[in-house]
């Protein structure tokens, strides 16, 4: 019962959404791109998509400047 978040093992929490995972991990969420098992999750679905047990989550942090 675990998930992989940015190459670290984390507990899997039942019914946890992308939004609540980001809060648990202390990520500020307008500034990230999230992938679950390689698939990009649009921000409009952060509050509804649940993290499946055993999944690999990538949270890619972006910093302003270009």
């Amino acid at each position: 019962m675990s998930i992989n978040v940015n190459s670290t093992t984390q507990a899997w929490v039942q019914n946890e959404t992308v939004k609540t995972l980001l809060i648990r991990m202390n990520y500020v969420f307008p500034l990230v791109v999230v992938k679950i098992d390689g698939e990009v999750i649009p921000k409009s679905q952060y509050a509804t998509i649940e993290i499946p047990d055993g999944s690999t989550v990538e949270v890619i942090h972006l910093i302003s400047g270009g």
Binding site: V32, V40, H61, S64, G65, G66
Partner: protein, 201 residues
């Protein structure tokens, strides 16, 4: 070692390739110039800003171009460096939901936007609408020094040149040498990906 025919193949492959660049500030203008010199056949550039004096410490524009549209100014500069490049310019702001359309015909997309939230929305939208198109993004260009922290992360078709410990551009300066490292790394990845498909590198 590359043979003469390999070198010709590289030239031909690059001349037949197209790259889209979203944002032509510090990252995009420098990446575009590098790709133009390297001989990419077609560049699509997108921006809605004019050249300002404050841009000249890092962007590929000149004093006499202050006040011009960046798209026009960059077209001029590319044309001077390599007139063989076919440049398509979109003077427009990329709005969520329609960020993809300038990039429908390009082989690779370079994310060279400024604000972190726009970068994130752009990467999301392009990844979802063009899942097979490589996206080369950058994050953490501001600040002074720390160049040894700059790394490349790959996740599927997304490549990110990043320094996760860098300040944001609201907290520190963005100057030509450091943003140029990111821009040239992005341009170098473009070439690498294009040539990987050809197997000539």
């Amino acid at each position: 070692m590359m043979s003469k025919s390999d070198i010709d193949k590289v030239r031909e492959k690059l001349a037949n390739s197209s790259v889209g660049i979203a944002g032509i500030g510090g990252l995009g203008s420098n990446a575009a110039m590098a790709l133009a010199r390297a001989g990419i056949g077609r560049l699509v550039i997108v921006d809605f800003d004019n050249v300002e004096e404050s841009n000249l410490n890092r962007q590929a524009y000149t004093v006499d171009q202050v006040g011009m549209r960046k798209t026009e100014a960059l077209m001029q500069n590319i044309n001077k460096a390599n007139p063989a490049v076919d440049v398509t310019a979109f003077f427009m702001e990329l709005e969520p939901g329609q960020m993809d359309y300038p990039f429908s015909s390009v082989d690779i997309v370079v994310e060279a936007l400024d604000k972190a939230d726009t970068k994130a929305l752009f990467i999301e939208e392009i990844s979802m609408k063009y899942p097979d198109k490589p996206i080369i993004a950058a994050s953490g260009v501001a600040g002074v020094g720390g160049t040894e922290r700059i790394r490349l992360k790959r996740s599927g078709n997304l490549y990110l040149v990043h320094d996760d410990d860098a300040p944001s551009c609201d907290e520190s300066v963005v100057l030509a040498p450091r943003v140029g490292l990111f821009a040239h790394w992005q341009a170098s990845l473009v070439i690498e990906i294009l040539l990987e498909c050809e197997n000539v590198n």
